[in-house]
Amino acid sequence: MRFFDLTCRLASKLLVEQRGRRLGLRERISAALHLRVCLMCRRYDNQLNIMDKAIGRWKSYREGPESDEK
């Protein structure tokens, strides 16, 4: 799973960073290449996308009327 020395451990961190800052050129290339060869990290990337959507739902829940303090 190694590519440009990028391990899944590092790739998964880069995938999170990618959602919050503009990656450097080298980082973008390694992340993209890693995703192409690594099914596990593609799965994780999909999980991150789902979490992003879920966070949106959770925010409106948190501020919305339907959540009563029990």
Partner: protein, 230 residues
């Protein structure tokens, strides 16, 4: 002058009273003592509703402010602002939405006010968190599950409740960073500045928060649901 002081004092009492003494008397006290009682007609239970939401507001504030006194101040200021300016509540949004909106501003105020004395973020996860999910050679220990496209789940109240529970279970430092980004909508630079941490610290914390959140959703929702189906 005397009058102003008196009003201030009563305000102060009210502020403290709103927090410390759970009692239905808040309603008439508010109406009787606040000199700025609004002329617009408010729903009778306005103050009571605000009071009922107070524990939840406090919980939100505590997620964000490590110091309980600051969290209580942020909530007191929110309640005070709501009682002082009920006319800004148009009724178009829900009361809770309106209050949480005010609370967010008050939390940001508190963060800025106490920037200097902010507790240093401790590394609240053992260094071994990575070892939980990754082998020594950097590979995933377990294949991440295929979550597919769970559009239905995202709209289920139960899913969001699991999500909320998972957020509550994040270690404090991760929770603060994560919520500052996602809930208060701070930029990464702002979070670093507020918490006096480096960008790399921040990304490590956010990375860990995501790993934990994923793990929690996996066991709290995806596995549990499969258990029901299978």
């Amino acid at each position: 002058m005397q009058m102003a002081l008196q009003a201030d004092f009563e305000l102060h009492c009210n502020k403290i009273g709103a927090l410390r003494m759970p009692r239905p008397a808040l309603r008439w006290r508010t109406r009787a003592t606040l000199p700025f009682r609004p002329l617009v007609s408010m729903p009778d239970n306005f103050a009571l509703q605000i009071e009922a939401l107070q524990p939840q507001l406090l919980r939100f504030a505590r997620n964000q402010l490590r110091n309980d006194a600051w969290a209580e101040d942020a909530v007191s200021e929110t309640i005070l602002a709501a009682l002082e300016k009920p006319q800004s509540f148009t009724g178009r949004s829900q009361l809770k939405t309106w209050l949480v909106g005010i609370l967010k501003h008050k939390i940001v105020d508190q963060l800025r006010r106490h920037r200097r004395e902010a507790t240093v973020l401790t590394n609240d996860d053992s260094e071994d968190l990575d070892d939980l999910f990754f082998a020594a050679d950097g590979h995933w220990r377990e294949m991440p599950a295929d979550w597919g496209v769970p559009e239905d789940a995202l709209h289920q109240l139960q899913f969001v409740e699991v999500m909320e529970a998972c957020m509550e279970n994040l270690p404090p430092a991760q929770a603060r960073c994560f919520l500052m980004r996602e809930w208060l909508e701070f930029s990464a630079d702002e979070v670093c500045a507020e918490l006096a941490i480096t960008a790399n610290n921040l990304w490590v914390l956010l990375h860990r928060a995501r790993l934990r959140l994923r793990d929690c959703l996996q066991s709290g929702w995806f596995d549990a649901r499969r258990g029901l189906v299978g």
